[in-house]
Amino acid sequence: MKNAQILVIEDEQDIRDLISFQLKSEGHTVLAVESADKAVSIIERGEKIDLFIIDWMLPGSMNGLDFTKKLKNHKMYKDLPVIMITALTQADNIVAGLDAGADDYITKPFDLNVLQARVRVQLRGNSVAKTADSDLLDFGLLKIETTKCRVFIQDSEITLTSTEFKILLLLAQKPGHVYTREQFINNIQGDNIFVTGRTIDTHIAGLRKKLGEAANMIETIRGIGYRFKDAI
């Protein structure tokens, strides 16, 4: 997506300017504020936003996590991508942020190239894979027929268990979104399927084996979860 409207919340001016400069140089429009309260006023104005980049540790009564939760409860903004910027590298904090609604995260000090790539992925969504056929996701090497539950690697079909398919579909529908184990569990349950955090890892290991060359499309984020890369 070119020229997206991106809302950046970051209390450190230098970093705020850094991010704004970078994003602008990519052709986007940037709304940069230093607190969640200021961001709330923008939201309440009903501004069109395509992506949120939120620093987790914010001054004032509302921090990044609170703001993200607010977004997820807002009719207009709840489906929009959120990238969390965090100085806290402990896995627990990151998992908490992802479970609160962030799609991806980036730790300070970050690499601008990495930021650029993540932004791109989030803005792209699954537009690349979407085809005219509403239930076919085409990632080139990997094709998924969503309603018929069929998966093809280089056009030859592979057999997945129902859990493996659900996991793959979940990942593929939101490329770039970091799924925590908790999110897997919440989305996979039901219909005689019972999973725990450990079994998710086992399922993904099995799924990867079956995906063969496309295995690398599932990226492991150590200690956090998994992410789908629609381009290897």
Binding site: E12, D14, I15, L18, I19, F21, Q22, S25, M57, A87, L88, T89, Q90, A91, T107, K108, P109, F110, D111, L112, N113, R198, D201, T202, A205, R208, A215, N216, E219, T220, R222, G223
Partner: protein, 585 residues
Amino acid sequence: MPFENKYPWFFFYRIAKLSFLVFIPTLFLILFFYRSSYKDGLISQMTVQVEENLRTTQATLVKGNLGWKDWCETVHPEGTHYSIIDKSGTILCDTNPELKGKKVDDIKEVQEALTATFYSQVKKSVYFNTQSLFASLKISDELVLRKVVPITSLKNDMNRFDRVIFLRIVPFAAISYLLFLFLFYQATLPIGGILSKVEQFQIDIPFGKNLQLLYKKDEWSRIHEALNEADHQLKTQIINVRNENEKIATILKSIRDDIIAIDTYETVLFYNSNFKMNFMKEKGYKEIMPKLWHSFSDETVLAAFRSVLKYGQIAELKGLTFCSSLNPEKFFDLTITPLKNSVGDITGALGVFYDVTEFKLTEQMRVDFVANVSHEIRTPLTSIKGYSQLLGAQKTKVDPELHTFLEKILTNTERMISLFNDLLNLSVIESKNIMKFEDLDIEEIIQSISQNIKTNYPDKKIQIAEDIQLKTIKGDQRLIEQVLSNLVDNACKYSGHDIEVVISTYSQGNRGFIAVADNGPGIPKEHIQRIFERFYRVDSSRETSRGTGLGLSIVKHIIAKHGGKIWAESEEDSGTKFVIELPLS
């Protein structure tokens, strides 16, 4: 068996002797007096008869108007003789003519008779040459009629009497004496028990003197001595116990931790003053209350105590909090140990509360500090890195000479960031007390690592081979992943372009092993010992020193936290193999 119920024989003999000495004389005395009475009775009986006889004779004489002289001469009684005696004692006439004219031996016979009308006595009769009854009756103022009768029949009666005694009474007495002895024996049998106890006592508690020798014949003294000694021992033990209790109380007082002990009925056995201070005062009790639940309302604590009382296993509770108006929030770790007697039965439980408030607060401060520092340092680093990158993107606007300067800024910024991350990591690992131990699938871990490593080194060809004989190990997932990731990263970092890493796992006994081997340049012998030190470099002169120097230190710490070991096997130019040893349970 020396300690079969001993019987106090010496005591028995003494009593037997004593009773014999008392019994026999008494018996004899009784028999003697009885015999005398009997004899006297017989004699009086005879005396009455003789007196009757004399009076009859007198009456006959008076009636028949026969002169006594004539009667005297004509009468010839058998077995007796009559005499007429005048008041001077002369026998005027006797049925035994030889005695006529003679004087009587004892004038009293006559005098008494004349005074009291009748008199009798028993003495030896010269005539009959045997004991005889001499009976005198006054027949006139001057005359006495005397009859002398030998008492042989009496003798016969007495003989008969004596025979009865010997044949009947004496055996009877003997039997009843024996019966008495037997009953006495029965009655004194329990003393045997006491004596056995005394002997046992001497074995159990050494006296220092052998009572058997000291009081060979005196059983009662033996018993008395034993009791004395027991009393003395008991008093000594009581003093000892009191002293020991004093010691314990002093020790308990001086221990800083709070201690409470309960028995199997949850009654408080003892506690120390710290416990009283922390747990009692806050409840407003002045003294310790008898039951455990008086002190605690916390269900977890009560349940833990009860579990220890029931199963006899040590229980540990960490991070308990007790809030009250007197004590602002304090944290305790609690260890409950079962109390057992010498046979192993559970007799109670001992709870020790360790005040970890300070520790926890310090820990909390450290965590907060780390978080703050982390945040504070990352912020300027972000700016430096970010703006350097922006400059780099605008290279064309800058003099080419200055490009290298820019490169250096970027490289060193990266280095600083890595270093900072590693230091933080190490600090967290060192302080992290609680690790989540799970069963980890090694193949899964390797799979995820291989993925990541290839993205880190896009220019190198990396092949990771597996030889998995041990499929699962117990450990903290994130930390173990970090270990393997670091080791594989090391293997790739220092090797050339064609990298082969072999990860193998196996078990020996109750230890599990993970080996990471590469085909890189190897480590010279003199450095192998030191590679796990912080910031140690094999070749410190290398211009492009890679990494922070903390990677292996972090790995070593993590493995140590798992209770394992790690070491390196390597030769220069023939690759390196890191071996990790971990406990399997």
